[in-house]
Structures are given as structure tokens and as C-alpha cells.
Amino acid sequence: MEAEPDANTKMPTSENLEPEPADAMDFSDPLFALENVSFWYGSKQALGDITIKLPVNRVTALIGPSGCGKTTLLRCLNRMNELIPGVRLTGQVAYHGQDIYASDIDPVEVRRRIGMVFQKPNPFPKSIYDNVAFGARVNGYDGNMDELVERSLKQAALFDEVKDDLKKSGLALSGGQQQRLCIARTLAVGPDVILMDEPCSALDPIATLKIEDLIRELVSDFTIIIVTHNMQQAARVSDFTAFMLAGEDGAGRLVEYGPTQTVFTNPAEKRTEDYITGRFG
């Protein structure tokens, strides 16, 4: 992995990358500050020159057509992409001002603090209790595990539905419950950030709305970055929206970034307008 920007691969910088201060957010001290981030899978460039600041305790939605690099960008935020062989990143991903790709940074610690929830609920074939306790045990948690499991399940709005049988297999839950179990599992290791990659795409509408309600609950304590194909979901749950699009070279670039209300009612860029109104994509 290269952490330094590569002058030879530097792409033109997109404009309008800092949201208008519609809700008086202070972007001078963002949680994430990405500068000129480009990313390659082998020789294929997936991201081109992304510069963006993501605020703390807010939901930021990444939207755009398939192949625009949303998921790649999301996975760059906690070094998940590193698990794929042959990848390369240039530019800087700063978290609380610290370059998370610096050589002295432990990627496991990065992923503990920046948790992730995936498209398809993926509980372990273990009990509900053990699913939630798993990460904490691995991390050597020495507090009261029962309390941690209960607190995490409550934060994930699942406790009341499962409290009578925590020994039941996580796989016996419904899809929506499984996804909330995965959120509880993520919360149990004490992250600051939750990355969500289309967390509702495998769920029915009611389970989807429960997760969306949960996202709004969680954002008072956590920062959430969500990738979604569902425009209405982005509009419902996020405070800020970033619209990405792949350029002619196939690399995803940031087209527009702003308060969600502005992006969905009065976007500045015609390409955003065309995408969100269903004219392409």
C-alpha cells in the first residue's frame, strides 16, 4: 500500500466537495478528512482523487450508480480493502487528524474503532449471546460480559425481541433481526464509527424501516457512513449526501456533496439531478 500521493496518477480535483454549512456544522474539525484519495484493484482504478470531510455524529450517505466506487470508498475508511490482494491507495485518509494508513497504525485497531455492517446479515453460527460477545472476547474485554451483551442488544433495538432466549442461534432470527444482531455485534467492540454497506438491501420494508429508525437513534452516539442504492433511504436517514459517479476511465469520483435536503431538493450539479430523478443510472 502507498500512503503518499503519487504525482503521476493525480487526477483533476472535483469541485463542491465541502457541504454548505446548512446546519452550522463545523467542518474545520471533521472526523474523517480524505485528501486526493485514489484507489486501484490491480491495474483498474476504482477511485479518482476523492477529497471529502465527513462530520462527527452525523449520518453521511454515499449514493451513485453501480460501479461508481461507493463501497470501495467506504472500505477505504477502515482499511477493509487491504484484505484484497493487489490493491493500492494513494492520498490520505485522516481519522481525527491521524493518517490511518501510516506505518505505525494497527489496522485491527482501526477496524475496531470503525466498525462495519454488510449488505447481507452475516451472524456467526453461534448463539445470539455469543455473536454479540465474540468481538469483545477477541479483544480481551474484561468487564461484565452480560451487561455488555444486554447494552449492545438494547442499542441495536433487538433486546426486547430476544431477551427470553439469548442462547438461541443467531441464524434462527429473521433477516431484519439478524441485521440488528450484526449491528449489536459491531457496537459491542466499542466503535466510534459504523460503516454500513447497503444494510437494508436484503430486508423487507418493515425491517428496513426498523434499521432506519435505529440509524437515527445511533447517530447521537456514533458517526454513521452508509452506502445505499435506495435514494429514499438516503433522503430519510442521512444528514449529508455525497453523490459519486464513475468517469470515462472507470474511476469513481465525487460529483456533489452537501446537506441531504439540498442534494435531494435542489442539487447543484446536473449529473446529480439526472441521477436522483431517475434520468440515468
Binding site: 429514499q232 431538493t265 435542489n266 442539487p267 446529480t272 436522483i276 430523478t277 431517475g278 434520468r279
Partner: protein, 221 residues
């Protein structure tokens, strides 16, 4: 072309809105003619036709709500639908003002004309032109024109003041004229309100294009 049905419906609500505006224009024209020519038949026609204007407004409103519920409109599509929803209400209320003038025409039909109706006719002409121009500006998404049209409200206000002054003189000089003169103040007031509603349409044009709601030319009345 994607979203063919949605595109067609979006166009339809705008075309229907223009058709509604033309019905309102006819009502305005006829109501003032009914007043000045003491034509009770024409006045009754305006009153009867107002039901059609109301129905048409509700039809457009229903289509807008259906599009919001089923098509999840966003960005300029959403602003178009929101603007149409507001404008049809303004148009329907303009129709009510015209109906009000027609009712005054019925009340005054058996009496000799109280005064020259030139001023009232002029007010009606300007407000009618403003209304039609505003629909044209909506079609062209022309915010500069919308602002010009909104500024014309001052001309209507000035005419309203002039007519009101003349009627007050009539009333103070001859107390038997208080009742018919009061009726004519209602007519002038209705026309003045129609011009204010044109200003509302102009505000929606700016919102449609810029996404920002600004109050324009606040009327004194």
C-alpha cells in the same frame, strides 16, 4: 428515455394548470363585463363555471399527490410538483374572486352605473395580463420575467387606491351611494387580491428554478 409515464404526467399537470389559468382568465373577463354591462346572464355563467374551476383544481391536486406517492419525485421534479400544487390553489382562489365580482354584478344589475368602470376595467386588464404572463414565465422557467411581473403589482395597487378614493368621495357626498359604492370597493379589492396571487405564482417560479422561497412585492393591502 427513462420514466416515460412520469415525464408524461409531469407535463400533463403543467398543461392542465395552464388550461385552468385560461378558465380563470375567462371568468375574470366575463365578471367585469357582466358588471359594466349589467349582464346578469353572464354573471350567472361565471358563478356556475366556478364549480368547474374548483373541480379542475382538485383533479390537478390529486394527480400531483399521486405522483408524490408513487413516483418519489426529487430535485426539480419535486419542485415542479410542489409549485403546481401551490399555483393551482392560487388560480382557484382567483376564480373565487372573479365569482365574487360576478355576484356584485348581480346585486348592481338593476341600478344605473354608479361611476365609469374604466378604472376597474384597467385593473382587470393588468391583472389578467400579469396572470397570463406569469404562466408564460413558468413555462419558460424565467425568473427575471417573474420578478418584473411581480413588480407590476404596484400599478394595480395604485389603481386600487385611486378607485377607492373616488368611491370614498361618492360615499361622503351622497349617503344613498354608500351601499353600491361599498359593493364596488369589493370589486376593486378582489382585483387587487388577484394581482397579489399572481405575485405568489411569481414566487413559485423563482422557487422552481432556484430552489429558494422569497417573498416578493408585499402588498400594502
Amino acid at each position: 428515455m427513462t420514466r416515460t409515464y412520469f415525464e408524461r404526467q409531469l407535463e400533463k399537470i403543467q398543461e392542465d394548470m395552464v388550461a385552468l389559468a385560461l378558465q380563470v382568465e375567462t371568468a375574470m373577463e366575463r365578471s367585469v363585463t357582466a358588471l359594466s354591462e349589467r349582464d346578469t346572464e353572464l354573471a350567472n355563467q361565471v358563478i356556475d363555471d366556478d364549480v368547474k374551476i374548483n373541480d379542475e383544481r382538485y383533479k390537478i391536486e390529486e394527480t400531483c399527490l399521486e405522483l408524490i406517492a408513487t413516483q418519489q419525485p426529487l430535485a426539480s421534479d419535486l419542485r415542479t410538483i410542489a409549485s403546481v400544487l401551490h399555483i393551482v390553489v392560487d388560480l382557484e382562489r382567483m376564480g373565487d374572486h372573479a365569482e365574487g365580482i360576478a355576484r356584485v354584478a348581480l346585486m348592481m344589475a338593476d341600478e344605473p352605473p354608479l361611476m365609469s368602470y374604466a378604472g376597474i376595467r384597467e385593473m382587470a386588464e393588468i391583472t389578467k395580463d400579469m396572470m397570463l404572463a406569469s404562466l408564460e414565465a413558468f413555462k419558460d422557467r424565467d425568473t427575471a420575467r417573474a420578478r418584473e411581473i411581480s413588480d407590476q403589482d404596484d400599478e394595480v395597487d395604485a389603481l386600487y387606491e385611486k378607485i377607492l378614493g373616488e368611491l370614498l368621495v361618492l360615499m361622503t357626498e351622497d349617503s344613498t351611494k354608500i351601499e353600491p359604492a361599498t359593493h364596488l370597493t369589493w370589486v376593486a379589492h378582489n382585483l387587487e387580491r388577484i394581482a397579489d396571487r399572481v405575485t405568489n405564482i411569481c414566487e413559485r417560479i423563482v422557487y422552481l428554478v432556484d430552489g429558494k422561497i422569497h417573498e416578493m412585492n408585499v402588498s400594502k393591502y
